[in-house]
Symmetry: C2
Subunit: 707 residues, 2 copies
């Protein structure tokens, strides 16, 4: 559906260039020249009131003068004149605009006004808008080049979406030199209307795109992004390089696009959740792309290495371990065949070392045997130029053999300079990734495996418990709102988690020493008293807590002691009473927390609790709502998990109860998005089958009511 | 001194090629051809009994027939014939051999015998030997090319030592294409005589080498390596790529060179100790080299970035944070100047964005202002090819301006393909590192800063305490040896650490219940009883421990209980008595441990103790002997350090006492290398000024006596 909507951009039948120019070097000239030279077969209509002809094409004063329907208009005139031109496009029935002009949101308040005006015009006429402040679009299949990039890359299967126009064109320039094929390139600009999600959706539906690359500094609507990306990832990999991951980088990104930059943690969690692969550099982004656009997804974890030199084989093996790849152990049959066919000094383990004097035939022999091995899921072939080496013949035979094992990815590392250059280029052109050094080859394989592992995972739906009481939560929240507070009192927070099936210590509010003693008898000794006041946060510091009270007398005198101490330290604090709790036994202290991310919503945290939270930072994160495996993974990812399982002969903790508590927290914060912060610290977990108790719950609501 | 020794290799006056051949493609032909074509000015003497002339040079049957003195002989004949040839070289008075022939230690037992024979011959005649199984040597200054590499790289200031010959030649081939200059290249081969340390020493003394690169799979003598490397690093950086860092990689390295591969942890600790920079890939190795061979060491932490596009600037900023670089905050003076001189839309913070339409003059203006800023220690200039960009003119003016700020390193990132290629090559040739993408540029800068920070550190000598009693340690060790044990009993281990000034709980050995009760009275209640037996390791499991005994009666009955339980569970164990300890109060549980590394000797560990050691692995390492700052760093590197400093209002622990205990352990294991394993777990640390106590000490001696 959306694909049809973006067809006027990727595959227009006719294009108008508003601001077309006869002057070389001017944007309106470059754009006209590029679309003419791209081989675009539809009509091209230059628009410029001051001239009659641009590059041999008849020029009109306004788009309204064009004598036929126009699918797409690209606008390259000063920002102040864009509204009028866009309005005329709307009247003309233009389906989409690519606004190249700068001077909008990115320059501040005045520009933002112009941008809002542009958005309105688009909405009114049902025109989709790319940009403003973008570098245009390329589609090599149409073909069309409506961008600043001088030359189009070769036709290929990579779709590339960039929030930085300059980064995009630099990469296209580099791709041309490396002979790398692209299907399409989109510069997002300010994302006034069309954003990354629209283009991901369009490229997701395009069968000629086999991998989608993105450079993004911000994401506009996190949840919509995840929803669309998750669907697309089922069909083809998405690789993202996220700019602005550091605090300083985010500041730079802020000044660059004026968009809100979410926390890196939330981005990472979100990308992992939807199976998106994160690249750490431009180079990694493209190395993955090369592999994904031509190589199959490996079916089997075993990586084999064939090399003619020991050192590079060792480096490749080291990297496998660092990247979490598994070196295949070859079958004894393969090893026997290799032993028979290779010289005695060759190494027939994995890496298979065919020795420095290996010619193409010896490589072919070893590669064929190794690819035939069922333990092998993918192959790295390393070649160093030595006296006997036949790099070009070896490359050709690699290609031929790989044709018979198309289901196993093949990566080549041909080391050296001129001696191997021809062979390198040959392999890359034929779709086999080929690198100078082992590290890039191994990283590329690792991206293929990351995607393969994701595809193997079942789709897990969020867990929903039925024994919950949302009405009660709503009531508590309403009370707090009525009190004009955003921070909940501890018994309020406790009653909210209890309403979602999480155990909290039973408690009562007492107004007098006698009432406290009566509550204590009902709850059972020993008990704890705690001051109840919206103004007192550090209760211990003002003598607001008394522990381990074993008799009614103790309770009464503690009650008086607390009141006396609190009124002395904080005479102006509002006091709602004193809470009485049954004192619960010791257990392991964990933490379950939650914070609200601007882009992606509630982010649930789990980890080692108590005093260890802040210094060990042994925590894990997932976006709510949570599936059962996600809650399990959250526990397994922490180091504390081995403690929970029971070490040194200690009994295991009630991991099942803990998992359910994590899931219930996920459900609660998903159902009530007004909860923007929450900490259960500690959540005390007992031995297997004995459950866990939320000992202390802190909760904060958003400042604004949530609709 | 050593430099003179290696002169016959790097700068021989005359060279014999034993095994020189007329047949193209043969090793003996390639070597002869390469030395002839390298421009070597000394005499070249081909040796081959079956021919009279090779490449126009007169050929002799044996080296003994050569009518003049020969400095260096390269041997390229079958392994079995090498001894005879080497012996003749010795008789002739040859000063050094480069043995290219393979078929020695690397093929197993028979080869090792031949290699030992070769070593003997070298020793007898005072000939140094490079190899065997090596690819030779190159020195571009001499010039001489005695290697397999077809063409010599351009003359430069990089010295490169490789344990993998093939990796070495591949890199030389690649360097030729990248126009990278080298001073010398050494292939180590089997390191029968000359090893990495000899060549590091030689290159360290050579003023024409400004950076030493190594690819190493093993180090022969760890301590000698550190000693030499530490001295060289004062003068020039050493960058190492270590192969075989993974367990699988180490196995592959093992089969490759037959050398022992030390643990990665020990290597990393050793390299850090001596200021050696570790590269993680071949590319990183060379990126660093390019920078070190031409750029100055930065004097100031602030990194400035000038760019004509936002995205790459953001990526560079992100990388700075990840790599621990500090983005400079420009002075208000610089910012004002930039504001005045740059267009209004430019960003005058750091990164400085000169905008997409910046020509060379705008770059020059910004670069000059930024380099003049005192807050700036180094500069990254990013250029993306846009319509107005003048890449070549910008490159030239960069070079000119940098000439006036030679003390500040400059790294260029010229993104794109053909549009910037000429400018990239120009900058590289002129000694300014220039890359395609920001990540490489930032990594290169990070290596420069790593070295700069190391040079700023004072040299710290190991701490030696005087209040130690080594004689007592010797006596205890002798007793254990006499008992034919390697594992010490707990009171033996405790008395050893006590002899080095570490506090352990006072204890007595009791043979009867009455004796135990008497000891308890002397030590003071409460006490702990613990079975003393070399055969019982898990004492708790067999009822061998009793805690918190408060009266003489309790002690007597506990004594009998322990004996009864132990004799029931382990009737055949030798029982030396029962230990009586004063029970010490609770405190924080830390661990101080030590293990012996094959290459580098005693490696001291510090971290969070008790049950947390195994699952949190919050530990740090240093090689003994330790300096005061090293012991401090060991504590500071752990997350537990924030706990020791006191968090949440808790009192700080006695960090000073802990530091001294770490230092004393370092001194002990350095003085007694026969201690191969040791754990003080837990070492209980108390509040500030209250010291720490080694509660449980385990110690193991080496199987063999140490001379």
């Amino acid at each position: 559906m959306n694909k049809v909507k973006l067809d006027p951009i990727f595959r227009p039948r006719s294009v108008a260039i508003i601001g077309a120019s006869r002057t070389p070097g001017k944007v309106g000239h470059i754009l006209t020249k590029n679309i003419v030279e791209s081989g675009f077969t539809g009509n091209i209509w230059p628009i410029n009131p001051n001239t009659h002809e641009v590059l041999g094409l008849k020029c009109h004063a306004t788009i309204l003068d064009v004598p036929e329907e126009v699918d797409l208009a690209v606008i390259a005139i000063p920002a102040i004149a864009v509204s009028k031109a866009a309005e005329e496009c709307g009247q003309k029935g233009v389906k989409a605009l690519v606004v190249v002009s700068a001077g909008f949101k990115e320059i501040g308040r005045d520009g933002a006004l112009l941008e809002n005006r542009l958005i309105e015009i688009g909405k009114k006429h049902g025109m989709r808008i790319q940009g403003p402040n973008c570098l245009g679009i390329i589609d090599t299949a149409t073909p069309i080049n409506l961008s600043f990039a001088a030359a189009m890359p070769r036709e290929g299967r990579i779709g590339f979406i960039s929030q930085s126009g300059a980064l995009g064109t630099a990469v296209l320039d580099w791709a041309l030199q490396e002979d790398l094929g692209f299907h399409s390139f989109v510069s997002l600009g300010n994302k006034a209307d069309l954003d990354e999600v629209d283009f991901i959706e369009a490229m997701g539906e395009d069968e000629n795109v086999s991998v989608i690359l993105l450079y993004l500094e911000s994401i506009e609507e996190g949840r919509r992004f995840l929803e669309v990306a998750s669907k697309v990832v089922d069909k083809k990999p998405i690789v993202i390089l996220k700019g602005g991951t550091s605090s300083a980088g985010a500041r730079a990104a802020g000044s660059h696009t004026g968009a809100l930059v979410g926390s890196f943690r939330a981005y990472k969690t979100a990308f992992e959740k939807s199976g998106i692969i994160m690249a750490e550099s431009v180079e990694e982004l493209f190395n993955s792309a090369i592999a994904f656009s031509n190589q199959p997804i490996p079916k089997n974890e075993g990586v084999a290495i064939v090399t003619n030199a020991g050192g590079p084989g060792i480096l490749a093996t080291d990297l496998s371990e660092r990247l979490g790849l598994r070196i295949a152990s070859l079958t004894s049959e393969t090893r026997n065949q290799l032993r028979e066919g290779l010289p005695a000094a060759a190494s027939t383990g994995n890496p298979v070392d065919v020795l420095g004097d290996a010619k193409a035939d010896r490589y072919s022999f070893a590669v064929e045997k190794v690819l035939r091995d069922d333990h092998v899921g993918s192959l790295v072939v390393i070649l160093t130029p030595q006296a006997m080496t036949e790099s070009m013949v070896t490359a050709e035979s690699l290609l031929e053999i790989h044709g018979r094992f198309r289901e196993k990815p093949l990566v080549a590392v041909f080391m050296g300079g001129e001696g191997v250059e021809e062979a390198q280029n040959f392999l890359i052109r034929k779709g086999i990734p080929c690198y100078d050094f082992p590290e890039k080859g191994m990283k590329t394989l690792s991206a293929l495996y990351e995607y393969a592992r994701f595809l193997k995972q079942p789709v897990n739906n969020p867990v929903r418990f039925r024994d919950i009481n949302p009405e009660k939560v709503r009531k508590v929240i309403d009370t707090v709102r009525a009190d004009k507070r955003v921070v909940l009192l501890s018994h309020e927070a406790a009653s909210i988690v209890e309403a979602y099936g999480i155990t909290a210590p039973e408690s009562r509010i007492a107004q007098t020493p006698e009432e406290a003693a009566a509550h204590a008898k009902e709850l059972g000794f020993p008990v704890v008293l705690r001051i109840l006041s919206p103004d007192i946060i550090h209760k211990t510091d003002v003598g607001g807590i008394a522990l381990n009270l074993r008799t009614a007398e103790d309770v009464k005198s503690a009650f008086e002691g607390i009141l006396a101490s609190v009124t002395r330290f904080m005479p102006r604090s509002r006091i709602y009473g004193i809470m009485v709790y049954h004192m619960i036994p010791r257990g392991r202290e964990m933490i379950i927390g939650m914070s609200h991310d601007v882009q992606f919503g509630p982010l649930v945290m789990f980890g080692l609790g108590g005093i260890y939270v802040n210094f060990l930072k042994d925590v894990s994160f997932r976006l709510a709502p949570l599936s059962e495996p996600e809650a399990r993974e959250m526990m397994e990812e922490t180091k504390a998990y081995s403690l929970l399982k029971g070490i040194r002969g200690e009994a295991p903790s009630d991991i099942e109860a803990l998992k359910n508590t994590i899931l219930r927290v996920g459900q609660l914060v998903w159902d009530f998005p007004e909860i923007v912060e929450m900490d259960i610290n500690p959540i005390i977990v007992y031995g297997w089958g004995e459950g866990c108790v939320a000992l202390d719950v802190k909760m904060t609501l958003s400042k604004d009511e949530v609709k």
